[in-house]
Assembly symmetry: C2
Homo-oligomer: 628 residues x 2
């Protein structure tokens, strides 16, 4: 594999990358953090760079102005190195002045981009094919239905096909009115290709899918183009089931009491709202969205379909279904193409859902020789350990603190959220998404802040404020808080702070996850040092300061080159499954080959949890490389 040298200016940093690497990857490798909200999908248009010399490939982005393009501007995420390059990073692209200036502070903000594109041929779950059929003649008077099916069979290399009665009835007219030139939308249902719609003429250029990650706290939807496999846009919202409880268990109890219809309606309406917004913003007709591919924890999967949920939380913890069949999306109330399909990715058990099988798919743990550990940090912390030979998964109830919820000033990773907090010469700085005034703290900001407070000895190892630790400590209603942003400096005219209850929620969350990792390791007679790849996943946006996460004891103190922050692997895996039928089938295989370990049956889990209720841990030796 040929390599290229890429030098970034004004930093004057040179890295060697594989030919074909994106400039964004190269910048990450050079430890230069740049503005980038969309995760490298070419949507946000923030990762502008200027090519000063050398050859590049990649499409010209519509996010750039004509003047910018003339001036050599490109988007780093969708521009690829063909030769050695000299690249200028304009000031507006810097994540913030301070961050770029202070290399240490950003050293471990290395988001590894999950490649959505695979080497095999694209085969999205729903495809559109334009058919120019031969008009019938005496020599070939095959019936309309068989004429269409035979051609689709030939083109898509599928065997078994199904077409609904309504579509068959409409075929003679649509064929004859369009000179036998039609577009078929074909969706995969188990081993059958279902002809979902037939339209006159060539409409094959409009084929979209919505890929959804249904978290307990946050729901993320990506609108993807099934033809180009590009992500058109992304949007997220808090899960409005929130009113029934912050934890999944509380919502299960609510569903038992009042039936699951209310919880289903909330979830479906959230998804509909996200899809509507994405469609409107991108001028796409809802009827051209032909599928929803959904991943999420098993409870969310049940709520989405309205499945009985009461046996999940009772021994022996039996879900109704972890591998439901593809359904018509309209059957659960999702508003896309009325005949569009809803694919629920297969999960593993009542407590390890399809967000995790998607993560296994995205990180490719199931193909690795070495032992890997995937930690997906959400309201439930899920842990997968294994390699190509074996996989074990478990789930720990962490609470939503690390997603910016159950923290008083917490918020989702969106404009105005403090996504990073760090110190320089003893002074505490922060960055907000969008670089404007702060509105609150998102997950990564909360982790950073707790770590910084610990480093600065403003809080102690129990998460309590030290007497006289800082002049920014206030007591309100008897609870101590640290005020990071004064109300006069905030976007909301209310101060942004973290209090002792918030910090306790953070400690509980990280302790639950860390204890789960320890238990799994012990059961397998392994040590943390046996882990060659530690993948940290979660809906933190693009940033997670690994050093801070280790500081607070959220993740183990491993050699840093073994740790990768991989972002939202639930969305990434769901997208791969949406784009490649092989990958979709692979998930079902992963499901079958993954053993679920039930922490609720582990007597020593509570003990490990208690040990982890300190910052970073009672056993400080496990965190010897940290500065705290």
């Amino acid at each position: 594999m040929t390599e290229c040298s890429i030098t970034f200016w004004p930093q004057n940093k040179t890295v060697r990358v594989k030919k074909g690497s994106s400039l964004l990857e190269a910048a990450y490798k050079a430890n230069i953090t740049i503005n980038n909200v969309c995760g490298g999908d070419g949507i946000c248009g923030r990762c502008k760079m200027i090519v000063k010399s050398g050859n590049i490939s990649g499409e010209v982005s519509g996010r750039l102005t004509r003047e910018e393009i003339k001036g050599g501007y490109v988007l780093a995420c969708s521009t690829f190195a063909v030769s050695d390059l000299d690249i200028e990073i304009p000031k507006e692209t810097w994540a913030s002045e301070k961050v770029v200036a202070d290399e240490d502070a950003v050293r471990f903000r290395n988001l590894k981009l999950i490649p959505y594109r695979k080497n095999y041929a694209p085969s999205p779950l729903v495809r559109k094919v334009y058919l120019k059929l031969d008009p019938p003649s005496l020599a070939n008077n095959t019936a309309d239905h068989e004429r269409v099916c035979d051609e689709i069979r030939r083109r898509l290399n599928v065997n078994s096909m199904q077409m609904g009665l309504k579509i068959i009835k409409a075929l003679p007219q649509v064929l004859r009115e369009n000179d036998y030139c039609i577009t078929a939308t074909v969706g995969l249902r188990r081993d059958i290709a279902e002809i979902m719609t037939i339209e006159g003429g060539d409409t094959s250029d409009t084929n979209y899918m919505a890929v959804v990650d249904m978290g307990t706290t946050t729901i993320v939807a990506h609108l993807v183009d099934a033809n180009t496999l590009n992500t058109v846009d992304a949007e997220a919202c808090f899960n409005s089931q929130w009113v029934y409880g912050r934890e999944v268990t509380a919502r299960m109890i609510a569903a038992e009491k009042r039936g699951c219809e209310d919880l289903q309606r909330h979830l479906v309406e959230d998804i509909n709202q996200l899809i509507r917004n994405l469609a409107r913003a991108n001028k796409i007709n809802l009827k051209d969205i032909n599928a929803v591919v959904a991943a999420g924890n098993t409870a969310m999967g049940h709520f989405l379909l309205g499945l009985p949920i009461e046996n999940i939380r009772r021994r022996p913890y039996v879900p109704t279904s972890v591998e439901p069949p593809p359904l018509r999306a309209a059957e659960v109330g999702i508003q896309i193409n009325p005949r569009g399909l809803l694919y629920s990715l297969p999960g593993i058990s009542g407590w390890v859902g399809s967000d995790i099988t998607a993560g296994i798919l995205a990180t490719e743990i199931y193909e690795k020789d070495e032992i890997c550990l995937l930690v997906d940090i959400g309201t439930n912390g899920e842990i997968v350990m294994g390699n190509k030979d074996w996989l074990v998964a478990c789930s720990a109830s962490a609470g939503p603190a690390l997603e910016g919820a159950s923290v008083e000033c917490g918020m989702r990773a969106e404009t105005g959220a403090i996504e990073s907090v760090y110190t320089k010469n003893g002074t505490i700085y922060f960055d907000t998404i969008g670089s404007g005034k702060a509105k609150g703290l998102c997950g990564s900001g909360i982790i950073d802040l707790v770590s910084v407070l610990l480093e600065q000895k403003i809080i102690n190892r129990s998460g309590k404020f030290n007497e006289n630790g800082s002049d920014r400590i206030q007591t309100v209603d008897g609870i101590k808080r640290f005020v990071l942003v004064d109300k006069n400096d905030s976007a909301t005219k209310a101060s942004v702070f973290i209090n002792e209850t918030d910090i306790e929620n953070v400690i509980v969350a990280k302790a639950a996850i860390f204890a789960a990792m320890k238990i799994i390791l012990e059961r397998l007679n392994l040590k943390f040092s046996d882990i060659r790849h530690l993948y940290i996943a979660g809906a933190f946006g693009n940033y997670l300061d690994i050093e801070h996460a280790i500081n607070i004891g959220l993740i183990p103190d491993l050699p840093r080159d073994r740790i990768e922050f991989v972002g939202n692997t639930s969305i990434a895996g769901a997208k791969i499954a949406a784009f490649y039928q092989e990958a979709f089938y692979k998930i079902a295989e992963i499901r079958k080959n993954t053993t679920h370990y039930d922490l609720m049956g582990a007597d020593d889990y509570i003990e490990e949890f208690q040990k982890a209720m300190f910052l970073p841990h009672t056993d400080i030796e496990q965190f010897h490389t940290t500065g705290v």
Copy 2:
């Protein structure tokens, strides 16, 4: 293969048959015609015989009284020879005194019974499986849906499965309320096994299907037990679409003018009525009928599903679908199990339907080395020629005369129908179905009567009455008629007759069919003498006097050992497809391998038709063995 000698008394006739042959087959072989309405399905209970010596096998029939069983009575159709036998045929079993006494008259009434049972394992299109599942435990807490699917997959050896959302939702309750003992009804939909219903406990003993032959004139339904593969009962009715025209073309025009909904409703209501009657008579719940397997001409197939039909009758004669997918029967209004399936057997073209592919399946022409000819005599006469290497099919519009319609005193083959007419010492005799007073003439009776009138020189070769041919000739409204039954002797107090218009309709029908055979032969450079097996199929009931059919020129004058009357092969083939999934798939293969020859494009067809408009034919040499 061991043989047995069977001697019938009082006839004192001995035949040698294969061990395991039924007594009914043996009686046919001995040229003894016996009472038998159901075609050998053990339904009608008329073929009673008394075993005087020797060993038999076969179940005891519920159609026999305790006294009869004690006296050695058996049903010939369901009793099989194990050793040499002496069998007494009681008088009530004789088809009629005269017939049995006069061997010549019955010589060619050899209905060949199509065996429904094949050597491979039964695999009906819809199966019921009783599952005793392990209750979940911590060691095995597989989800409910996957627990059920895994077990069905194992039991039925299927890969791909589908279960509707409603059934998945109901699973947790039905499993827990029934100690994990449930019955699944599983229907084949293309390559997918659909779990149609889940019931608590073991209901696997009630699984029925309705097998339907949709003729232009007659609709026949058989109720079959999918567990035992036995036929429970059979019923037929005239097609009430009749009001829109006697020929399919007239009904197509009606459908174009008024939409096909009316024609669909008539057909579906006929089928519903037959199924209701069958269910009521046999004390079977409609919800336990899990599938309808339907064969018929392509127009009927379109009417059943409500498919647009207008292109079938216009060049280039394109149907909407000849291989529609399995549908939910309720979708077209058929009233069985609400989730029951409707299987339309695959047909070949707009004018050669699934009644013919079913016939090819039933006669096994597609496996024969020698050249075979299948003639299915209905309102359309369909002809298939070929063997295991090639198959050619065509269709000729014959009109309904040979089904007992478009003949003034015509009727369906049911009680009171004259099904056979013959002469003895110059006197004309007839037999009615049920041996009671005559109501009218069914198809076989009409053929017989025309042949007898020709033999007796009452009509000439053009089908016109000879002056003074008989004192039974009357003229009513200017049209001459031959009165077979005086009004005082009939069941209806109206005379049973045939007039010159009726005879002309019969001649048109037989000429259309004979001309079609000639054209196909010519195109393939074959002669009638190349045909080694001539299969005559049609809804004539159990009798067709082959000699009479040759006399009038309906079928060619071949050596009689090459000719077999095989009854309703549409029902027979549909039943085989219903019982064996392999056979169902085989029909789709037959469809693809059969070439449709379009008679409408044959310039010389009219010429051949004109030549055949005589009795038996202008070219009398073709019928040199006939007595006329």
